[in-house]
């Protein structure tokens, strides 16, 4: 039974999972930069908060973490999606759609 996350944390998870799903193996800084670029600085992440999330998702078995040399040959920790992670992504996406749909409906009829 996965932990029930609050919405914001769920959003962060979704962003990370989605990023890794589309871009493959990345280190933490890479994920940060990617989310920033994609959202055009609109989603302002507190960068540090990414790491507890990565840590947690690794321990939940959604991500695989491994140490490998980075672009400039320093050791960096790279994350990639596991099959469980893909399943999780699908759930999170569905949740997100349901949520946005619900919010949109409320906004329309309220």
């Amino acid at each position: 039974m996965p932990k029930t996350n609050d919405r914001l944390q769920g959003t962060l998870d979704l962003l990370v999972l989605k990023t890794l799903a589309s871009r493959g193996r990345m280190h933490g800084y890479g994920i940060t930069v990617h989310v920033e670029q994609i959202s055009k600085d609109f989603l302002h992440l507190e960068e540090g908060s990414l790491y507890p999330a990565l840590h947690r998702m690794t321990q939940s078995g959604w991500l695989r973490a491994e140490w490998r040399p980075s672009e400039n040959n320093r050791r960096a920790r790279y994350y990639s999606l596991t099959p469980a992670g893909r399943k999780r992504l699908a759930e999170e996406e569905k949740n997100w759609e349901q949520l946005t749909e619900a919010v949109a409906r409320v906004l329309r009829f309220a």
């Binding site: 507190e46 960068e47 540090g48 908060s49 507890p52 840590h55 920790r77």
Partner: protein, 876 residues
């Protein structure tokens, strides 16, 4: 399975931490590199990186903290870190540990006394159900007066009490040995041991039949007597013991440690009263102890006894009017005034500990300022505020636990000192020990102290924001100012608390001084007193006893070094003295409740001369007062004033008891000056003295005025007694001065302890002032440098700094003085001839504080005057 992972992480902890650190460092470095690439300066790049990273590591820690196992693990790390930190500052640490240890140690010592004296149950079965019952003597305002046998029998009908026993202490002379020996004994009703809920270690209890005269020749002996006098003979039962020349068969031996009613009691025999004594409602000589029924609360028992007392007053107005019943729980009775004294001392050590805590809080705040940069760096690296507070509190708790350990050692020695110095007659003080409850108390106090002195510095120091942290200087000027304000407030509180303690101690010392200078009304120097019990076999009649004392005193007077020798039944009066109501010739006798009792003592004719008591009217006894002349009596000034205020008492006649009794009238022949015989703080009562030649008493006290050390003639005195009566027993050798000293001993001891604690408080407060001034001078080096550079005189600088410190002290002293005044009423029952608002005491305490404060601030302030302006400004 997330928790398996977490558990596994615990064992991989070290590696994991390194990995997290490395990952974060990678992230920060990457961001800095990108920032520089985007055109920032390296400093800006770094600041931006840290800012963007935010409180992430804190968040990380929050997730970790949720895990108890992990929490314990990090606690261990905190403690290790705390110890390392404390070791880094040996000076601050040892001062802090020492002051806390003194505070906690004093608390431990006092608490262990309270535990032993007030809290530990008495060594009887269900001791909370035991109570002492007394005649409430409203005529004398004496709550705890003895009762009579018929009253005891009526009390025992109470439905609140399961059973009641009567007893009366007695001096037994153990004869039939090589040398007769005095043993403290008690005559008891047969149910006495059952009421207490104790049984003999071996042998049997008394039977009701043994309360009959003639069948009462049985005795139960104490463990100590059995050990020493009977060499722990296992076949002692059935053997005989000779008391005052009569044979008693030993029926039982009490277990080790049992001694009731007094610690000295060694032998118990049945209370076998003659029919006349059993019937006399006005012969007051019995103590009564009762056991309440299991479900009866004390208040209910007391109100029932009050009702019974009122009924008896109505039923027997002639004997009982003016008397009620007074019930006291046995523990309260045993502990007596120790309770108030100990609670007062506990309050005092509480203040001492509070001062110690304030002191250490101040030290930590001062050091926290110096540690600001270290804390800032750790905050910048992502340590959360809660995490920082926890770390700092761990540090203070570790410190206070160290202090607690040392405190137990201090308390151990302090308790030995207490037992050594305390008056010997204090109840249960010999049982003081550091046991589990005491250790638990020390632990609790240490932890509380740790939080108490740790919380303020922890909150202060952890108020770090990252911008401030990354600035070179560490902390802003306004922060430093606020910090100084907090530290000043702590110092003011410290001074205030020590002012309270010093005032209390000052008042007690003043009381002690005035008590010691009280004139008791009789000679106190070089007067030996020695109780004597002449042989009952050799001297059977009163006339023989009188002749014995006459011969003995003459023979003592011829001993070289003896100025005068006399005999008296009692030099000092106990709280329940031998006394009685009396009727004055020619006056209607007042209603019983208005009757005054007077004490009765028998004296040899030269008693007053021997003790230097002045004759105010009439004459002393002389050799003409004998058995065949009319009985005469001497009264004291208080009695003369009270009953013959405007006339000469000499020549007046009165008799004890009823005017119609067949006893002859006693003629007043003299009025002597008042003597303080109940203690230095008690005024004389109505007292009478009869001539030994007319009313002999068997047991008396020899009173010998010697020209030098009284103890030196003790041997010759004993020889003089032996020459007349080989089997006379001499006991309780003392001097008048020693006995007055003993009567003040408990008070003196209490004053000594309170004074010691006040001194401790003063030293701690002075140390606090020293620390604040010292650190203030170090922190203001640049300001002082500027002042010197601008031409400030060194003397002015010194005055400025000392003046600031004295301002704090003044503020503290005023606050403390007001508080002391407000709470000094709690002290008033301990004071004598000093009011709680005694201006002299306040003035003395204030000057003492001022001197201490000046000393404590001048020394560190002198450093300010040697500031080299160039050096100081360069430092900035």
């Amino acid at each position: 399975m997330a928790w398996v992972n977490r558990l596994a992480n615990l064992f991989r902890r070290r590696r994991l931490n390194r990995e997290v650190e490395e990952e974060v460092r990678f992230h920060l470095d990457a961001r800095i590199r990108d920032n520089i690439a985007a055109g920032m300066t390296p400093v800006e790049a770094r600041q931006d990186a840290v800012r963007r990273f935010g409180g992430a590591v804190q968040a990380e820690e929050r997730t970790r903290d949720a895990d108890l196992v992990v929490w314990l693990d990090s606690l261990g790390k905190d403690v290790t870190f705390a110890l390392r930190n404390l070791r880094k500052n040996p000076g601050v640490t040892s001062v802090a540990v020492l002051s806390l240890a003194l505070g906690i140690g004093a608390n431990t010592a006092i608490f262990s006394s309270i535990q032993a004296v007030l809290l530990r149950p008495l060594p009887y079965k269900d001791p909370s159900r035991l109570a002492m019952l007394w005649m409430d003597n409203r005529r004398l305002a004496l709550h705890e007066d003895l009762t009579s046998f018929p009253n005891y029998e009526d009390w025992a009908k109470s439905t609140s009490f399961e059973d009641m026993a009567a007893f009366t202490p007695t001096d037994n002379i153990l004869t039939g040995l090589e040398e007769p020996m005095r043993v403290t004994g008690t005559l008891v009703t047969a149910n006495f041991l059952r009421v207490l809920g104790v049984t003999p270690a071996f042998g049997r209890n008394f039977t009701p039949e043994e309360e009959q005269p003639g069948r009462n020749r049985v005795a139960i002996i104490g463990y100590g007597l059995w050990q020493h006098q009977f060499a722990a003979d296992p076949h002692v039962l059935g053997k005989n013991i000779e008391l005052d020349g009569q044979q008693f068969q030993i029926a039982g031996v009490m277990p080790n440690g049992f001694a009731f009613p007094s610690q000295q009691t060694q032998i118990w025999t049945p209370l076998a009263l003659q029919p006349r004594q059993r019937a006399s409602r006005s012969s007051y000589f019995l103590n009564v102890i009762g056991r309440m029924k299991p479900d009866v609360p004390f208040e209910q028992a007391r109100s029932e006894m009050t009702r019974i007392g009122a009924n008896l007053e109505q039923q027997y107005p002639d004997q009982n009017r003016g008397y009620g019943v007074w019930v006291v729980p046995l523990l309260t009775q045993t502990v007596g005034r120790m309770r108030e004294a100990l609670l007062l001392l506990l309050g005092s050590v509480g203040f001492v500990l509070l001062i110690a805590c304030l002191n250490v809080a101040n030290l930590f705040l001062g050091r926290g300022a110096a540690r600001g940069r270290e804390i800032a760096v750790r905050a910048a690296l992502g340590a959360g505020r809660r995490r920082l507070i926890r770390q700092l509190l761990t540090e203070s708790t570790v410190l206070s636990l160290l202090a607690g350990g040392l405190a137990v050692a201090i308390a151990f020695w302090a308790i030995r000192g207490v037992i050594l110095l305390a008056p010997k007659d204090l109840p249960r003080l010999d049982q003081i020990a550091i046991d589990i409850p005491v250790l638990a108390f020390t632990l609790a106090v240490s932890l509380m102290a740790g939080v108490l002195f740790g919380i303020a510095p922890a909150l202060w120091v952890s108020r770090v924001d990252l911008n401030d942290a990354l600035r070179e200087g560490g902390r802003s000027m306004s922060g430093t100012k606020r910090l100084r304000w907090i530290r000043s407030a702590l110092t003011v509180a410290e001074v205030a608390f020590s002012m309270i303690l010093l005032t209390g101690a000052g008042l007690m010392i003043r009381t002690m001084i005035s008590l010691q200078s009280v004139q008791p009304g009789f000679r106190t120097n070089n007067v030996l007193t020695w109780r004597i019990a002449p042989s009952r076999v050799k001297y059977t009649t009163g006339a023989q006893v009188a002749t014995f004392y006459g011969d003995l005193l003459r023979s003592i007077q011829s001993i070289p070094g003896v100025q005068a020798a006399a005999a008296v039944t009692d030099v000092f009066l106990s709280t329940t003295p031998n006394s009685g109501g009396f009727a004055i010739e020619g006056r209607p006798s007042p209603p019983p409740e208005q009757q005054i009792e007077a004490t009765i003592d028998r004296v040899s004719s030269n008693y007053f001369v021997t003790l230097g008591v002045p004759l105010l009217h009439g004459r002393f006894f002389d050799s003409h007062d004998g058995r065949d002349t009319p009985p005469v009596i001497i009264i004291n000034e208080t009695m003369a004033h009270r009953f013959w205020p405007n006339e000469d008492a000499v020549g007046k006649r009165f008799k004890f008891g009823d005017a119609s009794s067949p006893d002859p009238w006693l003629t007043v022949v003299g009025v002597v000056g008042d003597m303080r015989r109940q203690g230095q703080d008690k005024l004389a009562r109505c007292e009478t003295f009869m001539a030994m030649a007319q009313r002999p008493a068997r047991g008396m006290i020899l009173v010998v005025d010697t020209s030098s050390e009284p103890e030196k003639i003790a041997g010759m005195l004993r020889d003089a007694v032996r020459r007349l009566d080989k089997s006379a027993v001499l006991f309780e050798r003392s001097t008048i001065a020693d006995q007055i000293g003993e009567s003040l001993a408990q008070r003196r001891f209490q004053t000594f302890l309170l004074g010691l604690f006040a001194l401790l408080a003063l030293v701690l407060a002075a140390a606090g002032i020293y620390g604040v001034v010292y650190q203030s001078v170090s922190q203001r080096t640049s300001e002082l440098g500027i002042r010197v550079a601008l031409g400030a005189q060194k003397a002015n600088l010194l005055r400025m700094i000392v003046g600031e410190a004295l301002g704090l002290v003044f503020l503290g002293a005023i606050t403390g003085g007001l508080a002391a005044f407000a709470i000094s009423r709690t002290l008033s029952s301990f004071l004598y001839s000093v009011t709680a608002a005694d201006p002299l005491t306040y003035a003395a305490v204030l000057s003492l504080l001022a001197v201490a404060a000046i000393l404590a601030s001048v020394v560190p302030a002198r450093r300010a005057t040697v500031v080299d302006p160039i050096e100081a400004l360069r430092y900035e």
